[in-house]
Amino acid sequence: MSRDFRWIGKPVLRVDGVAKVTGAALYTDDMQLPGMLVGKILRSPHAHARIRGIDTSRAEALPGVKAVVTGPDAPVRYGILPVAEDEYPLAVDKVRFVGDEVAAVAAVDEATANRALSLIDVDYEILPAIFDPYEALTRDDVKIHEEARKANIERQVSLTFGDVEGGFAAADYVREDKFFKAAASHAPIEPHSALAQYRDGKLTLWTSTQVPHYVHRTLAKVLGLPAEQIRVIKPALGGGFGGKGEPFPLEFAACLLARKTGRPVKFTYTREEVFLTHRGRHPMHMKVKTGVRKDGTITALHFESLLDGGAHGSYGVVTLYYSGQLLTGPYVIPAYRFDGARVYTNKPPCGAQRGHGGVQPRYAFEVHLDRIATDLGIDPLEIRFRNAVEPNTRTVNELRITSCGFKECLERSSRKLQWTERRGRLPRGRGIGIAGGFYVSGAALPIYFNPMPHSSVRMEADRSGRVTVFCGASDIGQGSDTMLALVAAETLGIPPEVVRVVSADTDTTPVDLGSYSSRVTFMAGNACRAAAEEVRNRVLAAVAEVHEVPADQLDIRDRMVCVPGNEGKTLPFSAAVVLAEARGGPVCGSGSYTPPKLAGSYKGAGVGPSPAYSFGAYAAEVEVDEETGVVKILRLAAAHDLGLALNPPAAEGQVEGATVMGLGETLWEDHAFLDRGQHASPNLLEYKIPTALDVPHVESILVESVDPEGPYGAKEVGEGSLHPSIPAVVNAVYDAVGIWLHEVPITPESVLKALKKRDKP
């Protein structure tokens, strides 16, 4: 493994660290513009209702109210997926969940805006609502979306790979289990915020989005404005996790009202509105059936999933496909069948959340695999080694596996908790468990068909020796700006602190598709490296010409261009840039990344392929109180194969954060609704995300398989690192007290119930 890096692999300080630690970083809600109005959204109190009419006259007459908009002001359908454009900026004809957006007002202050909302009269005809996904599968008399061909099914999918029947016939043992994973929500600490300004026919939107490019093109469509008159800027962003990964009503409402009033308008969601906006983890009902030989080798797998999608499509079709497509690793599955469906229900829409689509099936399969191992008397670690996927192979559903450090992840996480010595040997109430996982480093296909690169970087070196990286990539807190500075610095031989990053501004930066599907380091990193190489070549060619030495003998180290063996000819990088600029104008480089063609040969093959996959294996140690049912996580060793750690503390931070998010979902998080569709816990007191007291010090282990196509060998780290945490804990609970938990979260109630069942079967 090459370790010959100047900055890569060493701790690099975040480029925005000082601004964030001093409070100087500007988030969208921190911005004020002269004459700015406050926007507020009126939401539906009903889960399902027809809108007979809306009377906004009383609201408009209220002094201080500048404008009101409703659905008919922009009756244009949109959706993050072209196959699911089933949303309007504000409801047209119908509302589909409690909290659905109906009207928006702009007023001189928040109190006036809120008062105006109470003066809007909406005439609703209440319709029967569906909250249960099984009911949604069959009920034809209630249609949440008229377009659904059968009942309220948005999409159904069946995929078969290899000889599934033959695989089960060849098995010595077949086991079938059912699982349920409850909904979870992203709960970023920054609520969504959007500020629009309309001036001289040009619209500027500052917004807390993970996907400026998609917001840009959707705004053009919905507002009927040419894209070149719209500018989308993402200021500092306070956490996304998928929850800010598509266009939202506040963005359209801010733009519509700014255009209507001629004044800037800012919307910031309340915490309750963040929960109602949702787009989080789908509740998923799952059935897993696996055939194995006596030694634990898997012969066939059949997986079924039912996704409770909520009121709109969102990313759901992709979630559905991922739920099936990402079960063909990190174990070799010779034959596989997947049947899934996503249905509409009258609840806030589910969408993409960290680890998208694969988290629920991963929990189910890893626990199921432990049950098989237990039934056969095989060590759970051993059954994983026996079935582990190898590098440079292809899965049964045609996913191309290149670098793969899965076995090393198993080894290192299990060793950390002394698996061999301690599994099955701890005192009653204490246990350890293990689980694996894998995930995409960016989707190989874009969300909508287009021939552009998935990520592009423009780079310019100036006479001061400073380098500026322009890239559409959206730093949502994961540190992509720092990653870009680091890759540029390493490639150019200059320190990261002299690289300035301009990102996520549709006017000034080339396209990057956004921060989703764990794609940014891989794709923007590769684009950045290519752009930096071009700048480097320009600079070195100029120096080579002036000093009459071959360019390939030159090197840039620590901001100096050096000629090996001839120190007299060494000159500062800044002087070299001046030479290059004198010979051909501004010293620019451009680089882009487009994934190779990876999609398989069958219908539905578009979801799952990625230029590289991360792998992980986590070992958890828990303590279960048999009196109270409370599960305490004592230790968690998280080994994640990320290809190469460009900036180790940043990578560890991703593993630690994702793991803890997974622990929250394991123990507490349940994005639930009351019987009429009201959100059960739309605040951070009742929707319990982990506090510092609830979780252990996560022991992150970075495994480096050095990916052949990743930037300097790197691949994803931010999402796959959530996958193994849930099943590792659930499997540890079995080791502690001998119960299997087929529903997550594992509340004290469910633990007590299972303990009772264990004692009196």
Partner: protein, 162 residues
């Protein structure tokens, strides 16, 4: 409306506030100190933490009028010029910052802890920060940062001794 006087980051402030105005609004919207964040307005997340007479308070639960006569420190008041406070420095160097939205509240809560307990255990740190939610880091590096700040503080105070 009531005119109140208080100290803000060392400076005297005199400002008229509405009776229902909360401190976080006064700081962010009227005084332009947007380093104090609003994550929930319900006292659940801790993002709006400021120090009142050295103790952490949630500025979304404090009426602006109640700041009368008190000493308020926000995140903007910690660094001296370009020199970061040791807690800020430690957060930056330890990689304890991701999205940064909880950071101002975390830093102030940590400073308040170290001011009253210069050598806290991991458990004491976790207790002191349990009212400040972070969704990005999993808290591991935040706890390390506070330990690091404690250590650097001790080094400083030892160095002061003759």
């Amino acid at each position: 409306m009531k005119v109140i006087r208080f100290t803000l980051n060392g400076d005297p402030i005199e400002i008229g506030v509405r009776c229902e105005e909360i401190l976080v609004q006064t700081l962010r919207e009227r005084l332009g100190l947007t380093g104090t964040k609003q994550g929930c307005d319900l006292g659940d997340c801790g993002s709006c933490t400021v120090l009142m007479d050295g103790l952490p308070v949630l500025s979304c639960l404090v009426l602006a009028a109640d700041a009368e006569g008190h000493d308020i420190v926000t995140i903007e008041g910690l660094a001296v010029g370009e020199e970061l406070h040791p807690v800020q420095q430690a957060f930056h160097e330890e990689g304890a910052i991701q999205c940064g939205f909880c950071t101002p509240g975390m830093v102030l809560a940590s400073k308040a802890l170290l001011d009253r307990n210069p050598d806290p255990t991991e458990n004491e740190i976790r207790h002191a920060l349990s009212g400040n939610l972070c969704r990005c880091t999993g808290y591991t590096k935040i706890v390390r940062a506070v330990e690091r700040a404690a250590k650097s503080n001790q080094v400083c105070s030892c160095g002061d001794k003759p």
